[in-house]
Symmetry: D2
Subunit: 369 residues, 4 copies
């Protein structure tokens, strides 16, 4: 292992930054890698581009968009929140309307969570970009891509994302410990005038050090080596194939939920997330109990409903290093746990639907090596 | 890591040998650890106790018992084989009969594969011991416990096993690379007069070196450290719990097979193996195709039918570090592969039966931590 | 591995926090673990206890104390710096004087780097505490213990440290990626009124989540498991033994430097650091060249002089998982590199002095196991 | 990880066998990989090519050649041993003489240990081949290359080696657990008529299985993956560079021994081993004490004198993944231990000589990356 002060270390830094640009699908963006998490990614994106008192427009459609807004407010930013029902995607029309109403262009940025991990909803960034453009508004587009980058299609340049934020522990298949942000030239340009106080998360120090191939303070070295490996795996597989793989796995999970006769938290089929599925439990049953029983009786880690949807749903994650057999096992475990807590589920019913889906979408046998 | 010549190394050696005696359930047996595999275990058991021309009685009820016999023959031993249908356990009555017929006690040993990995059949060692005793015959009892020791109950002392043989890669949950044999005092006593040629597998060198805490040549050090960890895990869980866990998982698999309407290779319920299940495929279908499709389309490793049962079955292993969700995923994969090759299987049917089994046998929720 | 949302996770959290209190030598302190680094530790200590405009007194005696001050200033704090020559420890008399001069107690905190990694100087925290007390001043004591905690004696309670800051990658022998801070009750009490903006590094969220055994956002799970292991190793060895081991290794390095006829950057013997030694290179030679040659020709990672002492010295780290043979190899490498760049060094001279030191201080042979 | 029965496994097998041919420097040789050790390599080489009663000529110049002979004898082979003083290489003239005296070509093979690990002596295989050829003798050449293959130049084809034997834990830098043998076509041709009994170590089964890409019984899978990685590393570095690296490290160790005023066990400079150095201790001192003190006081693992040279020497291994700093540390440790047991050694003296050697032979600074 290279030491982070060794004269060979810059090769690693340069490779990582170049590869990150590829996964963000950007030519001009500037990636930053902090020894933090996705939550630190929010912070670095905001404090390096904004000053206290700045106004932001944000959509709140789940727990993570709520926290993103909270992060902005704690740093002295004023957030106009568009609240939509949890389960809905970010609404381009309401964004357009709000921006059009902002005659003096006081709004400095629009905050969107691309994939709401709490509800299993993917917002349509292309249409949001079109809404901003239709309003002729110069606000920057801040996007939380924590559970989308490297799992779902994420086109930073094409969609005009100015701040793209992610972490190491989702699509990059690493332990948590890196907060990664990619800044458009427009976002970078705001760094100097941004007055929010910052030191650990400062881009200036990072840019200066990265330019020479180093970091301004000790980086999370082991995770950087892991990141190199992850990026190689993803780029070797090809991003399109990675996205297709996630879609295929998600389709099976959704088929299972339909077979169970349960509803998704996601209200619109076209916005169902390919990286996480949130399943509504029937009235009178607690989603938290499903999670608890799944863990204690069957060693299965499901996600719980958070905040406003606490107890109303459970979540099945399906991103990263995972295959159909693991998911089928997880679906089987969810069925057992649901039945244990009194949900009327025929054992094997969801599994069968997912099997059917996976069987149809598997590589044709003739093409298998 | 201690070096294998360090003055602290003997502590490890002594701990391993003591713990191995516990898992073989023996007070007097002497364990030997060779840098080899279970097949090497057969060889060391035979060549250290026998001379060319010695006669042995063996049951051939599957591919591994066939190979065990072959190993004996290649070392110049004369084997009287009791052939039974593959799927049958070793027959105590025929063993007793053969030994009774051996009036001049020419037979020096009886060879049994405790758990036939090729057919999923566990022979009843207690009844075999009774058969030998009933015949009043002094032959040593040689037992292949490769897929039973640490997975199924194995009582070396109680059942009068003289040579117990296993490897590292099954119940001990390690990579392959250790051939382990445990010798009763009666077996050890034959070492000096045994004339089969041997050097690598010689017990004399091993005993002399082990007595001082070392090995006669470089041991497979990394596996010895792994063995220490495995034995700690098993003894901490408690052997009875380990066996119960395997039984529980196997019950689910068998429930799935019944739900599929397929037959086990194992002919007698009381001898169904708790570590591996061999499933007969219908006439006109190849079990090899099931295995192939499972691997290529669904990343599932099933075992193929071997030798006499090639093509007629596929096998599902269920020993070692495994839980019910992984097995349910495997059953789901097997269902898809079976359907792909034309077996009339309702997707989810076997999974549902296994879920029902696991759900009933899971830790009561109230007792869950 | 437990999931960070599993119902068994709180056991880990509680064990980590309890063990951290032991290594900080505190009964009342509250540890916080952030997925960051020691630099993040500075930030969390400052922003959770201070408001913009607050005044601090700080000693600047090396590059890391300079950066600590810089961090405070970037968050809007006003720092009165006591500049001393690099190589000097923090001067208790000047601290006492400055605090006595602060009649209206405007100074809110005193910033000290316990062990200046850049110069190899350990300041005497006990005497600094006495100085603060002698001045009858209520300022909080902020201590950077990044290269001291778990390597050098660090008595949080006895020395009245209010904010103790460290990272994972030094005495805790882990990869970088954790910023750890321990707050005295007095420090905690300031949290509510502190106006510095914060979100990622906020203690309030952390305390609330930690109280239930969880974290407010995804923790760096793999490092938490590593931390558990490190803390176990350190507490099992015993902190006194850990400190003695570092002292013994450092004594050998200092003997080598004396034998080379070179000066330490550290000006006072009683403040020589037991975790890092900075060696002044003669006039006309660049310390950076020593570092460069050591790395390129001999695979040896030395530390370079930073900022004001750039080129004037090189540094040998000697903390964490290291033994005398590795250090002797490093000293030998440093000798070769020094000679390569023209320093008049007799090869083996420093090594011999270190050997003599280690040989005298090694465990008596009779006591060796 | 591929399963050892998976349909992708044959790719690995084929790559390993092809790469092994490269490191043995053979075009026609057939490599075999057994889950065993180098001692198992001896056995498989002998039992697959010989019949009980066959005569062999062997040189005994150290403990490992003694054990190689012992292995042959235990399998019923008759060995004419050429005993030379330990420290001497195999004498080509005496081999030639013995073969010439064997008028009826009764001698079937010549056994040589290429690099005697016990004495640090490398025999000259080219001259031994010339001796055999000069005698016009058809005997096969059996070579133990355990501590030479992948560390010292080993030209199987050019030197007419018929059986080349090695293990995984030396030049291949893996844990012990693989016994590897490479057979010339002439050696392979003897397989069928060879009557030594064998099963585990049989080539016939191995060839048949390897031809399809599989193994006749469970291989040591984890080590096979390690082997793939090791071979890649070695071939990427280039064998010539690997050998040069070992020579460079060995030169430094020998310079140290000269500086200590001690003798090597190796009697002839041109046969000093580049993978291990055996150092004679002065009369009245026990080499075993040096080894013991080095381990207990300084955590240094030296090799002890074996059998005939027990107590008379200690050994320093210098093959595999090792660099000059580690060796300098080891030399420093050896100096301390020697002085502790009463050998008159100036601390640092050997280290200085080795430093001088390494400094001269290091990559020119201008060429360093």
């Amino acid at each position: 292992m290279e030491d982070h002060r060794s004269s060979k270390f810059p090769e690693l830094t340069r490779e990582l930054l170049a590869d990150l640009k590829q996964v963000f699908q950007t030519g001009e963006g500037q990636p930053f890698i902090f020894p933090a998490t996705g939550s630190g990614g929010w912070e670095t994106a905001l404090v390096n581009t904004r000053s206290p008192g700045d106004r932001l427009l944000a959509v709140r459609n789940g727990h993570f968009s709520h926290l993103f807004i909270d992060c902005a407010q704690r740093h002295g930013l004023v957030v106009d929140a568009i609240d939509v029902e949890w389960g809905e995607p970010a609404p381009p029309d309401r964004i357009e309307e709000a921006l059009k109403a902002d005659a003096d262009k006081a709004i400095q940025g629009v905050l969107i969570v691309h994939n709401e991990t709490a509800t299993g909803v993917t917002s349509d960034l292309a249409s949001i970009r079109r809404a901003i453009d239709a309003a002729g508004h110069p606000a920057l587009l801040y996007v939380d891509g924590v559970s989308s980058v490297c799992s779902l299609d994420f086109r930073m340049d094409e969609w005009g994302v100015d701040l793209a934020i992610t972490g190491s522990q989702k699509g990059l298949m690493l332990p948590a410990g890196l907060g990664i942000v990619c800044a458009s030239p427009k976002a970078l340009a705001q760094n100097e005038s941004a007055k929010c106080s910052r030191c650990f998360f400062d881009w200036g120090d990072m840019q200066k050090a990265n330019a020479t191939g180093y970091f301004p303070y000790t980086p999370a070295l082991s995770l950087l080596f892991g990141l190199q490996e992850s990026l190689n795996l993803l780029l070797e597989e090809g991003l399109e194939n990675v996205f297709a793989r996630h879609h295929r796995l998600a389709e099976g999970v959704r088929a299972a939920v339909r077979a169970w006769g349960l509803e998704l938290c996601s209200k619109r089929r076209e916005n169902d997330s390919d990286s996480v599925t949130a399943v509504m439990v029937p009235e009178g049953v607690s989603g938290a109990d499903v999670v608890d029983v799944a863990f204690k009786r069957y060693n299965l880690s499901l996600g719980a409903g958070l905040a406003r949807v606490a107890g109303k749903l459970f979540r099945i994650g399906h991103l990263g290093a995972l295959n159909e057999l693991m998911l089928l096992g997880a679906l089987a475990g969810a069925e057992m746990a649901m039945r244990d807590v009194g949900i009327d589920i025929a054992l094997g019913s969801g599994v069968a639907a997912a099997q059917d889906s996976y069987s149809r979408s598997a590589q044709p046998l003739t093409a298998a090596r």
